[in-house]
Symmetry: C2
Amino acid sequence: MPNNLIEKCDCDVIHQDVVNQVKDKMPQEDLLYDLAELFKVFGDSTRIKILWALDEAEMCVCDIAFLLNMTQSAISHQLRVLKQTKLVKNRKDGKVVYYSLIDDHIKHIFNQGLVHINEK
Amino acid sequence: MPNNLIEKCDCDVIHQDVVNQVKDKMPQEDLLYDLAELFKVFGDSTRIKILWALDEAEMCVCDIAFLLNMTQSAISHQLRVLKQTKLVKNRKDGKVVYYSLIDDHIKHIFNQGLVHINEK
DNA sequence: GTATCATATGAATAGATAATCAAGTGTTCA
DNA sequence: TGAACACTTGATTATCTATTCATATGATAC
């Protein structure tokens, strides 16, 4: 154990061999952080609904707000988040802005999540 | 539009046909809520790390705390969340509590997430 | 121009949450 | 029995976040 590290766990029963083995197999810190950030985006039912809806059809902000019975402002804020995460794109037609999905893996990730839920 | 509903969007350009079509295809509100709750659990890098680690090997609280350089208490709190979500289980051996994964879909969900990240 | 409409945005607020700290279980072992 | 240990738990706190409200932008139509 390097002595320049302040280890926060001072347990005696640590299984060093197992821990080292696992440590070697763990992905980069950054990658796991990015992964958590992605799931954080999915971790809100409003955004889940928006993504699910956009997987069915391209829609304008107004349509989504009406569909989910929420204010246009709330939807707009969430669409901003989804756009920053590169999950949705938009096109402008006059005053109206149409949103659609970028990534076609999304539904697959959702379905895998549902598998877990149905098994509980 | 049923007049007993307070619609929060009063736009004029709503594409009624599209909205209705999407509405029919949307899963139950509860299901999408549960799905968001699941992803919320994945939306924290500490929990992601714990789950990834436990996918490699069964470990005690102490091992995980040491591996992630966090306090045992913080890990214990997160393990509680993961247990409530039925993502991990534990067994007791004397003073030591060993945790392991329940669901083998988890890694698959993570890998799908990574596909999205790598495509950005 | 200006009125209207669809959307965006910034500030504010209420609610959620992750880590910390301190105290509590329950087990082992001397 | 009681000290030591692995872990849990409850309260607290700092931080984050989703919605709301008010206002801004940018396009259309008159």
